[in-house]
């Protein structure tokens, strides 16, 4: 009976039942199966309120929504275009840089493609980049900044895995930059191959754009100094970022009206954060029940019988996570999958920080992988193109990202260099 109900719940989840409801239903079934009081699940939800870093998620989300509403994407495009647009593949590199910058603040919730796609797609095609390349680039770039601070995905992983978030932020920088370099090299090759005309470099124009967006580019510096300099905690850094962005957009750029725009921005941020955190709350109850039922231990026994080396385990982990990434979004995957794979990874000697980077790298790729890679559908809606065309367009990028994934997985030093 319980098995049948679980199967029905899985089918309903695949049919579009909100994930938090599906997870809640699963926990209720497990509790009933173990003759446990379902009030236990509420204890787990209430325990969320004791996590000190949790406050950072709604606050960084607010900062991202404020930046988008205040016109930061347009300012950044102008700046990076003046800075890098003269290079072969210049505008494509601009696209990569702006999207990574913006995603690190907005989270990979599709906001990047929605907010920047409309601005960058015409820019790329006007500059004579092939349409397929432009679509692939924008679809892939929607999740590029996931490994840079203050990425929401990193914050969530840190909370779920109980790992120091400062360390995770440090660990993500080199792999994130490496991916940017690989994709920039590809853009450069395409720029040369298709003889894309280059814009003229003008130091006067560059200076003008630097002055216009100085406040935006100072933000990551301000954030990194604050956190790694030990001046503020993660949550305080998030609040300071919101205040900084608010002052920047309302007093300096005057692009955001407190009277008319601030209220809807607050609501948008609450909806985004609420829809992520409720999954976390529900998954915590489910995870606890699964641990009580010794599922991770059974899984460990099963894998230990079949896998003997960490190398084999990492390969298997990559395949599994790519499938997860293609089926689930990053936030739900984090809260559901991490508690199950963390003990396995530790058993094979994988550092939890390194595991976090591997995990996020896989899911970053999963965003663009069929059947349900979220970026494919968002781009499909944004650019009004068929999903199959978008998938074919992202294929070269996916191959490059898989190569990057292998590097990140099998060279832990890329994530853990700062430990030495």
């Amino acid at each position: 009976m319980i098995l049948l109900a679980t199967l029905l719940l899985v089918v309903l989840a695949l049919a579009g039942l909100p994930l938090f409801v599906a997870l809640g239903g699963g926990s209720l079934l497990l509790a009933a199966n173990g003759s446990l009081d379902s009030a236990l699940l509420i204890i787990e939800l209430n325990r969320l309120a004791s996590s000190p870093n949790l406050i950072a998620i709604p606050l960084f989300t607010l900062a991202g929504v404020l930046l988008a509403a205040g016109g930061a994407p347009q300012r950044l495009i102008r700046l990076f275009n003046a800075m890098l647009g003269w290079l072969p593949g210049g505008i494509a590199i601009v696209t990569l840089t702006v999207c990574a910058f913006f995603t690190s603040f907005s989270g990979a919730s599709g906001v990047t493609i929605l907010a920047l796609g409309g601005l960058l797609f015409p820019l790329l095609t006007k500059a004579q980049y092939p349409e397929k390349f432009s679509l692939g680039l924008l679809t892939t770039s929607g999740s590029l900044g996931l490994l840079f601070p203050p990425s929401l995905a990193i914050l969530l992983y840190g909370i779920v895995a109980g790992v120091n978030i400062d360390d995770l932020f440090l660990a993500g920088i080199v792999p994130g930059l490496l991916l940017m370099l690989i994709l920039a090299a590809y853009a450069l090759v395409v720029g040369i191959r298709f003889k894309v005309p280059r814009r003229e470099y003008s130091s006067q124009h560059l200076w003008k754009t630097i002055r216009a967006s100085a406040g935006d580019i100072a933000l990551p510096v301000f954030l990194i100094t604050g956190i790694f300099g030990g001046f503020v905690t993660i949550s305080e850094a998030a609040a300071a970022t919101v205040i900084y962005v608010l002052l920047l957009e309302t007093l300096i750029h005057r692009s955001l009206s407190i009277k008319t725009q601030f209220y809807p921005v607050l609501i948008d941020a609450t909806v985004l954060a609420g829809s992520i955190l409720i999954i976390l709350g529900m998954a915590m109850g489910l995870t606890n029940l699964l641990i009580d039922a010794q599922l991770p231990m059974h899984l460990l026994d099963w894998i230990e019988d079949r896998v003997s080396s960490p190398l084999q385990f990492l390969l298997l982990l990559n395949v599994f996570l790519l499938v997860v990434g293609a089926m689930m979004d990053i936030f739900s995957a984090t809260v559901v999958v991490i508690p199950l794979i963390l003990p396995l990874a530790q058993r094979f000697g994988i550092d939890p920080i390194h595991l976090g980077i591997i995990f996020l790298a896989n899911l970053e790729i999963g965003y663009c992988t069929p059947p349900v890679g979220m970026n494919l559908f968002i781009a499909c809606q944004r650019f009004q193109k068929p999903v199959i065309l978008l998938f074919l367009s992202t294929l070269p990028f996916l191959l490059l990202m898989l190569l990057w994934l292998l590097l990140v997985t099998y060279f832990p030093v890329l994530s853990l260099w700062w430990r030495s």
Binding site: L62, I267, D268, S275, L277, S332
Partner: protein, 163 residues
């Protein structure tokens, strides 16, 4: 009858919008106050951390209620992505399942809250009172899903998106 329900739903959403925005703003102000008091006056304000963490529960519930109306909840949704025609017929049924699950959680949360109130020391009663958001939140989530069952997929979804 339906028009009354739509008016009721819109009124409910307006109140929830207000409470959602107020909760987020309050968290921001409390954390900012803590930074200033610690760095300028070298004192940490007691209970501010606890209060701001409790307020995250308000964000979770009000954000989720509004996400139902905006259809912005995270879903896996493979079946409907591959077969968009199945979306409409399934809408009411999925919302009905959600009503059932959220209602069970409402009763569980009420039991949890009663116990928490009973065993809390008088100095912790304020935290337990704030924790009322958990049963109330689940009840309101059930209500939103129930309204979606009644009103169906074609009714106008209340939306407010930042310009």
């Amino acid at each position: 009858m339906l028009s009354y329900l739509i008016t009721f739903r819109n009124g409910l959403i307006s109140i929830e919008n207000l409470l959602a925005a107020a909760s987020l703003l309050l968290i921001l102000l409390l954390v900012a106050l803590q930074i200033f008091s610690r760095n300028l006056f070298d004192i940490g304000l007691p209970n501010i951390d606890t209060l701001s963490r409790q307020l995250v529960l308000f964000i979770i519930f009000f954000g989720s209620m509004l996400a139902i109306e905006r259809r912005q909840h995270i879903t896996i949704d493979i079946i409907c992505s591959l077969c968009p025609a199945s979306r409409r017929p399934l809408f009411r049924f999925l919302n009905l399942v959600a009503v059932g699950i959220c209602t069970i959680f409402t009763f569980s949360a009420m039991r949890f809250w009663k116990d928490a109130w009973q065993y809390a020391s008088p100095s912790e009663h304020w935290q337990v009172l704030i924790g009322l958001i958990i049963p109330a939140g689940f009840m309101l989530l059930s209500l939103h899903f129930f309204l979606s069952v009644i009103l169906g997929p074609d009714r106008i979804t209340y939306k407010m998106t930042a310009p």
